[in-house]
């Protein structure tokens, strides 16, 4: 399995992988059976001298059942897949665990801009760490993200986290992830966004808790004050990050 998908590095990655393999197994069985029947019929009922075709129109109740019974089985499989799928979707999208920190992610032609809260734990304060194409998060921490775009559509795509979410100008889209394995991962763009779409790429570094704190300290903006003074500035009028034109919360 490891060979087929990239390593699973978030809490919900194993759920998505499980779903993908479950669906593959179900539809794989149907696929093989259908191809086998098709091939069997073609071989078995090839034209031979002395044999004529049967007159079967498929209008009798029993004949209709040949079709509808397998289709009822397909319906049952569909509903199982839908149920499993809704369960995973609900976990990822509709139940948000309490976040330990919030990062702001802005897509623009052709870079990702990441705003990390500084030691005060708040965005839009003077100790924010803003980095181009570089984001750090602590391992095993629920990270909430606010995703925005400054120009066209982009799509935040971190294969190892099984995370993909479009960034839409004019909207702030919220989501979360919890990385489970320290390491660095590519942050790609999955939505066509212009000439250098193919080059738009950042790096996510999942740090151990200590490493994260030291990265944050090392990357702190020169004017950053100790955490004690910052909270009063929460929600300050003048954000230190480049404000997306026309971006509003939904």
């Amino acid at each position: 399995m490891d060979h087929w998908l990239p390593q699973a590095a978030s809490t919900y990655a194993p759920d998505i992988d499980g779903l993908i393999w479950m669906i593959t197994a179900i539809v794989g069985v149907w696929f093989l059976v259908a191809e086998a029947v098709l091939l069997f019929f073609v071989v078995k009922y090839r034209k031979r001298s002395g044999r004529t075709a049967a007159y079967v129109t498929g209008d009798r109740r029993k004949q209709i059942a040949w079709i509808l019974v397998p289709c009822a089985a397909i319906l049952a499989c569909d509903l199982i897949i839908d149920g499993a799928s809704a369960h995973v979707w609900d976990k990822m999208k509709q139940t948000e665990p309490k976040p330990e920190l919030t990062v702001r992610i802005q897509g623009q032609q052709w870079a990702w801009i990441f705003s990390h809260p500084g030691p005060d734990g708040q965005l839009d304060t003077s100790d924010d760490v803003v980095a181009m194409n570089e984001v750090h998060v602590p391992v095993n921490a629920v990270v909430r993200f606010e995703l925005r775009s400054n120009d066209t559509l982009h799509s935040l795509w971190i294969p190892e986290l099984r995370l993909k979410q479009d960034a839409v100008p004019g909207r702030t889209i919220y989501g979360w992830f919890e990385a489970t394995k320290p390491g660095s991962y590519g942050v790609l763009c999955a939505e066509l966004c212009g000439a250098a779409h193919g080059l738009m790429r950042g790096t996510l570094t999942v740090d151990g808790p200590g490493a994260y704190r030291s990265w944050l300290a090392a990357s702190a903006p020169p004017a950053a004050e100790p955490a004690a003074v910052a909270p009063s500035e929460a929600g300050a009028e003048a954000p230190s990050t480049p404000a997306p034109a026309g971006a509003v919360a939904r």
């Binding site: 990239p6 779903l19 009922y45 004529t52 397909i74 839908d82 080059l199």
Partner: protein, 562 residues
């Protein structure tokens, strides 16, 4: 009618004869298919040699690559699949199969083709304007498409919008003709349940198209206004919303898949009974599942938008409808398979392609379930997995069915048979190379490779896939080369093919009553219809076919006496 009378050159070009118009659509569509295929080959060569020039074109990157992707998709959907499946087969077959002399509105039909032709010229012109053709994707999502500053392209996108809008208008006129002709101009005695399935499917496709195309045309007009008149339909700074376009586009875009799939299935439905000498299995079930597919196709569109930022609560219902559409499609496919059961199957080229269509389409069908699951789609969306899936879903109905239909109806269109050996060579080449091209893309997609990126080497962290890229690239080249036997066969058989006669396949439907090729006006005398289209191997008859127009013995006697 006018057959026998001398026809001037211009009245042959601007013909109102449905068969001439069908051939015009056929030749335009096939020519555009080569354009689309060459664009695909350019992409594949670039992807196999990241950073290296494609012979004659330099390194196809940035805007150039995006324009190649955009035009490949645009050409294949709007200028290949639609003119071939609907324009060529719909036009040629509907009047012949319902037993009438022409379309209900022959002039409208002619205008339909020439509007399409104009749209083709506009699209070709977009390759020549400064900045080149549109680089914003065949889906043309704003703001990339609505604001020239983001795409660095002014005229290419303008012309793209205009060309697509004209193309849609052309097929709207065509669709009106198909529906009216099939409903109003049926030969005496032909009940709806005597209609060949392909006519049902063409009509269903036309109705789906008719109901879905309006929002897209509106969306395209708003896009053009945003670009030219300073409106802000899709501009958030002016109070607009880019997601609006996605909804309008996919409200058309997904039903469009079934607009292409249904006529493709229809061709298979005509060929299977003839080459297994058996009635189609479950005619009514197929008709009902066609209708169900058509209805469901209108409420699945947001499955293209699971990660677009729509309300997460919308995912479950759209996931459900999307996955449920597998049921009616499975009904049709199972009925096709049951048609083979206890048949007497002859593997002539049309039958090979029809069976190939079913076998290959199954891959597209089952992988669609993965995309349809909203949660799995989060991972798969916009990766090569999707690219592989929709090629497996569209190549069977568009190309396998097209080829099946060409080999099957060529004798009717041109009066001569095509060569079987070349036909088999064409089939096996196409079958092998389609799989060689697209199977590796499933693997790359599962590794996380995103679409529409010209340099895959930068995803080395996801695994080295350069071997797969090469396999897919060689597959594309093989696929293009495999079309050579078709061209040789197609043009060679016009002169050298065995003369076909009216009914070379011993088939039941009315087009085989008309001479091959049918003259203007089709039939000497309008036929009467006495039975359904699939009376093969009926017990108590010496012959294993029983054409729709042949009167039962008692009626024939009564007629002679009268």
């Amino acid at each position: 009618m006018t057959h026998g009378a001398p026809v001037s050159f211009w009245s042959r070009v601007f013909s109102t004869d449905h068969k001439t118009i069908a051939k015009q659509y056929l030749f335009t569509g096939v020519a555009m298919a080569f354009l689309g295929g060459i664009l695909a080959q350019i992409m594949r060569l670039q992807l196999a040699n990241p950073g290296h020039p494609v012979p004659g074109l330099g390194v196809v990157q940035g805007i150039k690559y995006n324009a190649t992707v955009t035009m490949h998709g645009t050409v294949m959907i709007f200028w290949v699949a639609m003119p071939l499946l609907l324009g060529a087969f719909g036009n040629f077959l509907i009047p012949l199969m319902v037993g009438t002399r022409d379309m209900a509105f022959p002039r409208l039909n002619m205008i339909s083709y020439w509007t399409f032709f104009l749209s083709t010229l506009v699209l070709i012109a977009s390759f020549l304007v400064p900045g080149g053709p549109s680089p914003v994707g065949w889906t043309a999502y704003p703001p990339l498409s609505s604001n020239p500053a983001y795409s660095s392209n002014v005229w290419g996108v303008h012309l793209w919008i205009l060309a697509v809008a004209l193309e849609l208008v052309a097929f709207l006129m065509g669709g009106i003709n198909y529906i009216t002709t099939a409903i109003n101009l049926r030969a005496p005695g032909m009940r709806m349940r005597d209609l060949p399935l392909i006519v049902w499917m063409q009509v269903a496709a036309s109705i789906i198209f008719l109901f879905s195309v309006g929002p897209l045309v509106a969306g395209a007009v708003m896009l053009l206004l945003d670009r030219t008149a300073g409106t802000g339909f899709y501009n958030p700074a002016a109070g607009g919303d880019p997601l609006l376009f996605q909804h309008l586009f996919w409200f058309f875009g997904h039903p469009e898949v079934y607009v292409l799939l249904l006529p493709g299935l229809g061709i298979v439905a005509e060929i299977l009974p003839v080459f297994s000498r058996k009635p189609i299995f479950g005619y009514r079930m197929i008709v009902w599942s066609t209708i169900a597919t058509g209805l469901l196709s209108f409420i699945v569109w947001a499955h293209h938008q699971f990660v677009s930022g729509i309300d997460p609560r919308l995912a479950a219902p759209f996931s459900l409808t999307t996955i449920l559409i597998s049921v009616p499609v499975a009904v049709t496919l199972f009925c096709f398979m049951a048609t083979l059961y206890r048949g007497s199957i002859e593997l002539k080229t049309p039958m090979l392609f029809a069976l190939g269509m079913m076998g290959v389409f199954l891959i597209g069908g089952v992988t669609g379930i993965l995309n349809g699951s909203a949660a799995a789609d989060i991972y798969i969306h916009d990766t090569y997995f999707v690219v592989a899936h929709f090629h497996y879903a569209l190549i069977p109905p568009v190309f396998f069915s097209l080829f099946a239909g060409i080999y099957y109806w060529y004798p009717k269109m041109f009066g001569r048979m095509m060569n079987e050996t070349l036909g088999r060579l064409h089939f096996w080449g196409t079958f092998v190379f389609v799989n060689m091209t697209f199977l590796p893309m499933f693997v790359m997609g599962l590794r996380g490779y995103p679409r529409r990126v010209y340099d895959p080497s930068q995803f080395a962290a996801l695994g080295n896939m350069s071997g797969m890229q090469w396999i897919a690239t060689i597959g594309t080249a093989g696929l293009l080369l495999s079309q050579v036997p078709l061209l040789v066969n197609f043009f060679g058989s016009m002169k050298r093919g065995r003369v076909a006669g009216a009914n070379p396949w011993r088939a039941n439907t009315l087009e085989w009553l008309a001479p091959s090729p049918p003259p203007h006006g089709n039939f000497d005398e309008i036929p009467s219809v006495y039975r359904w289209a699939y009376e093969y191997s009926a017990p108590g008859r010496d012959e294993d076919w029983h054409p729709q127009h042949v009167a039962p013995p008692d009626r024939a006697l009564a007629r002679k006496a009268g």
